[in-house]
């Protein structure tokens, strides 16, 4: 059973060989970084930024041209993060001069997902209206699709917006997040397409679009919001109330007041919150009744809403101190900053 010396020798040799290989790799990579690449990239970045500030027509600095493709890409991406407006336009010309724009066009059709991702990164960072990136909105890789969605900000055309709205149902959370974020950043150009999109939606499927609607806060969406506020799904009704709260106006106020009597607790809570947001003090009596709600979150939202109404709300809260419902009295005590009843 006792191992022989030749086995010992083999084990030692293998361990030493592996250690030597790992050590050599480590030292090699560290040395390369220390003496070469990082400083060269930093020099190139400084040269690019100096070029962006120069008054003359932009040209690719030599320091950038000396780098390999990946390093050039990194430098341009780092520069892009710090500039906007005319400087970004100059940076686009520098990127084109060193062949990165043409490379991005090619990379967007690459069979390697990380190359397609690089292309989408560059086009998003520089705001390049590269048509090939639009194809990536349907890429099978989530990260690429999400990055292409970010790129879509530079192309707020109805066709792109329609594609983005379609992607609100994407199975991947990252993509849905990117779509929501991009649509919200696009702002008003989204509204007509969003209204059309909402027309064909109901239930949980309408919730992401309603989140965008709340961020748009556009009265043109009210008819669709009113229809969806009667939806069967409480999550849809809640999202509608949030959108009403953002849009405001008489119609929205009526819908919010109607929501105070909803059969679902989350909807009543949202109604109370949005009544506070709208400063809808005329709903104070209905909100005061919610202090007796069986759901704690609803009672809290109602209490906060009353407190936000100022003197009128204070009257209702003081009345609630003597409420036979001890939950209502307790919430009023807390909101009025009094000692809590036992």
């Amino acid at each position: 059973m006792i191992p022989r010396l030749d086995l010992l020798g083999t084990a030692v040799a293998i361990q030493l060989a592996v250690a030597a290989a790992l050590l050599s790799c480590y030292v090699g990579f560290a040395a390369r970084r220390l003496v070469d690449r990082e400083p060269a990239r930093d020099r190139a970045l400084r040269a690019v930024l100096a070029e962006l500030q120069a008054g003359t027509a932009p040209r690719a600095p030599e320091e950038l041209e000396r780098l390999d493709r990946r390093s050039r890409l990194r430098v341009i991406l780092r520069a892009a993060a710090t500039v906007s407006g005319s400087s970004k336009a100059r940076l686009r010309r520098i990127a084109a001069a060193v062949g990165l724009t043409a490379d991005a066009e090619r990379a967007s059709r690459s069979r390697f997902w990380w190359r397609r991702l690089e292309a989408a990164h560059l086009c998003s960072a520089l705001g390049l209206p590269t048509p090939a990136i639009r194809m990536l909105l349907h890429d099978p890789v989530t990260a690429v699709r999400a990055q292409a969605v970010e790129w879509a900000l530079v192309d707020p055309e109805p066709a792109t917006i329609r594609t983005l709205l379609g992607l609100l149902d994407d199975p991947e959370a990252l993509c849905r997040f990117a779509v929501l974020d991009t649509l919200i950043r696009m702002g008003r150009p989204v509204v007509p397409e969003l209204a059309r999109h909402l027309r064909s939606r109901s239930g949980i499927g309408a919730v992401p679009a309603l989140t965008v609607a709340a961020a748009m806060a556009d009265a043109a969406l009210l008819p669709e919001l009113e229809r969806l506020s009667e939806d069967e799904d409480p999550r849809c009704r809640t999202a509608c109330l949030n959108a009403f709260g953002a849009v405001g106006g008489v119609g929205a106020a009526a819908a919010v007041e109607h929501g105070l009597g909803d059969r679902d607790g989350a909807v009543r809570e949202a109604a109370a919150q949005n009544a506070a947001l709208l400063g809808q003090w005329t709903a104070a009596p209905a909100i005061a009744r919610l202090l007796r709600d069986p759901t704690w979150e609803v009672r809290r939202a109602a209490g906060y809403a009353l407190r936000s109404f100022g003197a009128i709300g204070q009257v209702y809260l003081r009345r609630a101190l003597d409420d036979p419902d001890h939950f209502a009295a307790d919430m009023a005590h807390q909101l009025l900053d009094l000692s809590v009843t036992s």
Binding site: I2, L8, A19, L23, L34, R74, L117, L174
Partner: protein, 474 residues
């Protein structure tokens, strides 16, 4: 065969069994390393060139509450709060929980943050020690301070969970220095999937680095061996261990110093358990177990690029206490949830992850100690010959060294936090030297932890901190 002969056979067989155990776990380590390398490559490709402004300025990014319990942290709390306030995240609430400190931590907070008492309405979903007061900073409106009676770290985190209002909660130690963009990176798994319950980031050793205004201005290796060995240990644990588990059944540990959780999931399981010293591991096991039992997804991800820096013990006494406590915690958690072991109901969690923690993380020091003692006895009585002893050492420690070197290579190929020649040289030096003495000491401390667990000791032991500002070099 006489008694001496039988003893010799037993000793030799024991040594061979220990060697086989080492080879088996080393093989598993190799699988873990391959998994970590694959995961790291995919991760680096995904984040390379990524602009995080989308998250940073997003109206729909999930909100985060940072929960920072502080107990007698008067010397470091200013730097820690300063670091928390530099965090770049769009929808962030910072909750400092003063756990009945007796050293004036609350006074420091009051003085530096212009605290104003307030009365928010929160639900005591989780039972905690009484809250004495709640304050909001007059200078930083997103900063809340909870002053409560002493109840331990778990109790403080539970108080924070009750008061916090965000979608996600990030549990940290008050003395942890979190890099400003760490949350933007840490939130990624929650954006990527609805299946993720929790995520953890990398903890790095701050000793030796230069700290300014609660931030690591320059990362350096510590010049003294003890913190230096811990740098290598931490890199190995995070970049190779935890990253590797992402593809092999998910993580079981999210460091208590830096972890992000869904708040509703935490409230649903009743928060942290107060009667264990391994509350950070226990909560992850309970989260995963509960999710599995309810047919819910139980993903717990480790993300290598969000970094938090922590001061590690620089004395043997304190380090020994810490490792003792960690091992007691591990033993306690694994015993509490023993029903998971080899239970197919829990999938890879019960069949791969849990057994690994029992047979490798928990029992490795026992096996290692048996091997070492058996080897010495075997050599003395002549049952084991010298070549075998050398073979034993080469396999056990040479393999460990190679894993450390592979981890350093992984670090160099990905995040490259250490830049100078001195740092690289020190990193290699500590990676080699930790095998001679330090590793054996950790075996002793962990064994002591196991014995103390069996004797039902539940103390934390004091952790002496020097504070970052006064100790740029350790």
């Amino acid at each position: 065969m006489d008694i001496g002969g039988i003893a010799r056979v037993i000793l030799v067989d024991l040594e061979v069994a220990v060697l086989v155990y080492f080879v088996a776990i080393s093989t598993f380590y190799a699988v873990l390393l391959a998994s970590a390398a694959t995961e790291m490559r995919a991760h680096v490709l995904r984040i390379r060139g990524e602009s995080r402004w989308r998250v940073l300025s997003s109206a729909v990014a999930p909100s985060i509450s940072m929960l920072a319990p502080a107990f007698n942290e008067a010397s470091t709390i200013s730097d820690s709060v300063c670091a928390l306030l530099t965090l770049s995240y769009p929808n962030l609430e910072i909750v400092i929980i003063n756990d009945g400190s007796a050293d004036g931590t609350l006074d420091v907070l009051r003085r530096e943050l212009a605290l104003v008492p307030l009365h928010p309405i929160f639900r005591r979903t989780i039972d905690t020690r009484p809250v004495r007061g709640l304050y909001r900073s007059g200078e930083h409106p997103t900063l809340l301070v909870i002053d409560k009676e002493n109840g331990g770290k778990a109790d403080s985190l539970n108080a924070g969970l009750n008061v916090a209002s965000a979608d996600l909660v990030c549990a940290i130690d008050a003395d942890t220095l979190i890099e400003p963009d760490a949350l933007q990176r840490m939130v990624r798994p929650f954006l990527e999937g609805d299946r993720v319950l929790a995520a953890g980031g990398t903890i790095r050793v701050a000793n030796g680095s230069i700290v300014r205004q609660g931030r690591i201005a320059q990362a350096h290796l510590p010049g003294s061996p003890l913190p230096g060995f811990q740098v290598v240990e931490y890199l190995r644990a995070f970049l190779f261990g935890r990253l590797g588990w992402n593809r092999l059944g998910g993580n079981l540990i999210i460091s208590g110093a830096f972890g992000l959780f869904r708040r509703q999931s935490m409230l649903a399981i009743g928060g942290y358990t107060s009667d264990t010293v391994g509350e950070d591991m226990e909560v992850v096991v309970r989260l995963r177990r509960g999710a599995r039992e309810n047919g819910q997804p139980d993903a717990v991800r480790f993300i290598p690029d969000p970094v938090a820096w922590t001061e590690v013990p620089s004395s043997l006494r304190i380090l020994g206490r810490q490792r003792d406590r960690w091992h007691r915690g591990l033993a306690d958690v694994l015993w509490r949830h023993r029903a998971v072991l080899f239970n197919p109901r829990y999938g890879a969690f019960g069949l791969v992850v849990y057994p690994y923690f029992v047979f490798v993380e928990l029992l490795a020091p026992v096996i290692e100690a048996i091997g070492l003692i058996g080897l010495v006895v075997g050599l003395v009585v002549g049952a084991v010959d010298v070549p075998f002893a050398i073979l034993f050492f080469v396999v056990a420690y040479g393999y460990g060294l190679n894993l450390s070197l592979a981890t350093l290579l992984l670090e160099e190929l990905s995040f490259r936090r250490y830049a100078g020649l001195r740092d690289h040289a020190l990193l290699l030096l500590w990676a080699v030297l930790e095998n001679f003495g330090y590793r054996q000491l950790t075996v002793l401390w962990r064994l002591r932890g196991l014995v103390n667990y069996l004797r039902r000791r539940t103390t934390w032991g004091a952790m002496e901190r020097r504070g970052f500002a006064g100790a740029p070099k350790t």
